[in-house]
C-alpha cells in the first residue's frame, strides 16, 4: 500500500482536480518529488526556485509536522498520509504588487 498525499483545494486545479494522489515513496521528499513530477504546475506553489519548501508550506505525515521530524528526509511507510497545510501570512506593502 503506497503513501497517500492529500492535495489542498487551492492546489487541485494544478493536479488534475484530484484531492489526493498515491505514490510509492520511502521519504516525504520522495513523495513530494513524485507529486511534482506528475503534476509539474504544482511545483512553484510548493517549492522556491532553489528547490526549498516554501516557508509558509507545512507538511505533515499523519499528524506530525515534518519540521519536528527529519524534514523532507522523514521516512514514510505504506499507508501513511501526507498533508500539505499552508500558514497564512501577509502584511502592509513595502512594494505594491498588483496588475
Amino acid at each position: 500500500m503506497p503513501v497517500k498525499v492529500m492535495i489542498p483545494s487551492p492546489l487541485r486545479p494544478y493536479a488534475g482536480k484530484r484531492d489526493s494522489a498515491e505514490f510509492n515513496a520511502r521519504t516525504v521528499g520522495e513523495a513530494l518529488g513524485h507529486l511534482t513530477t506528475e503534476f509539474g504546475d504544482l511545483r512553484k506553489h510548493l517549492f522556491t526556485e532553489d528547490g526549498k519548501l516554501r516557508s509558509f508550506v507545512n507538511v505533515y505525515v499523519n499528524d506530525e509536522d515534518i519540521r519536528y521530524l527529519a524534514k523532507e528526509n522523514t521516512p514514510t511507510k505504506d499507508g501513511d498520509t501526507i498533508s500539505i497545510i499552508p500558514s497564512i501570512a501577509g502584511g502592509v506593502p513595502t512594494m505594491e504588487l498588483a496588475s
Binding site: 497564512i88 501570512a89 501577509g90 502584511g91 502592509v92 506593502p93 513595502t94 504588487l97 498588483a98
Partner: protein
C-alpha cells in the same frame, strides 16, 4: 488567471471585516472566508455564461494574529488555525475559499510579502484602516505564475443564511 473573478458577500459580513480591522488597529486583523466556489458547484446559481466566475462568502472565521513581534505590519495564521477554519467550514457544508486581513495606515493593495505567502485560487480580501477608520476594501487572487495578483470584484449581495 485569465478570467476576471467576482466575490459575493453580504453587506453584513463586509461590515464585520471592516469592524474587525478597526477593532485590532493599529495591529493587523485576519480571518478566514467560508463559503462556496460556484465554479465548482453543480447546479449553482452562477447565472448565465456571460457572468464572471464567482464565489460567495457565507461566514467569517475571525482569527488571532499570531505575529506578536510585528503585528502592526504583519499577520500570521498557524497551520493549526488553518485546520480549525477548515473544520468549521466542513461542519457547515462550506469550504475555506479565502482569507482577509487589514493594512493599518496603508492602501488596500497586496504587498510583495503578501504575494510570497499566497496560493492561487484563494481570495485575499484586504481592508485599509486609516487612523483607526475602515476605508477601501479590495479582493485579490494570485495569478498562476505567482508574479502578481489580479483584482477580484467584490459584489455586495443579499442572500438567505445557509
Amino acid at each position: 488567471m485569465a478570467d476576471a473573478t467576482a466575490l459575493w458577500i453580504s453587506g453584513h459580513l463586509a461590515e464585520k471585516i471592516r469592524a474587525h480591522g478597526a477593532e485590532t488597529y493599529p495591529h493587523e486583523c485576519c480571518g478566514a472566508l467560508l463559503g462556496r466556489d460556484l465554479s465548482s458547484v453543480a447546479g449553482s446559481d452562477r447565472g448565465s455564461g456571460a457572468e464572471a466566475p464567482a464565489r460567495e462568502i457565507l461566514q467569517l472565521f475571525p482569527l488571532v494574529n499570531r505575529r506578536d513581534d510585528s503585528p502592526r505590519n504583519r499577520f500570521s495564521v498557524t497551520p493549526e488555525d488553518v485546520l480549525a477554519a477548515e473544520k468549521a467550514a466542513r461542519e457547515q457544508g462550506l469550504e475555506v475559499v479565502g482569507w482577509y486581513h487589514s493594512h493599518p495606515d496603508h492602501p488596500a493593495r497586496p504587498s510583495l510579502y503578501d504575494r510570497d505567502h499566497a496560493w492561487p485560487w484563494y481570495s485575499y480580501i484586504i481592508v485599509s484602516i486609516q487612523n483607526g477608520a475602515p476605508q477601501d476594501m479590495t479582493s485579490w487572487r494570485l495569478n498562476d505564475d505567482r508574479a502578481e495578483f489580479s483584482p477580484e470584484e467584490i459584489e455586495i449581495r443579499h442572500r438567505a443564511a445557509v
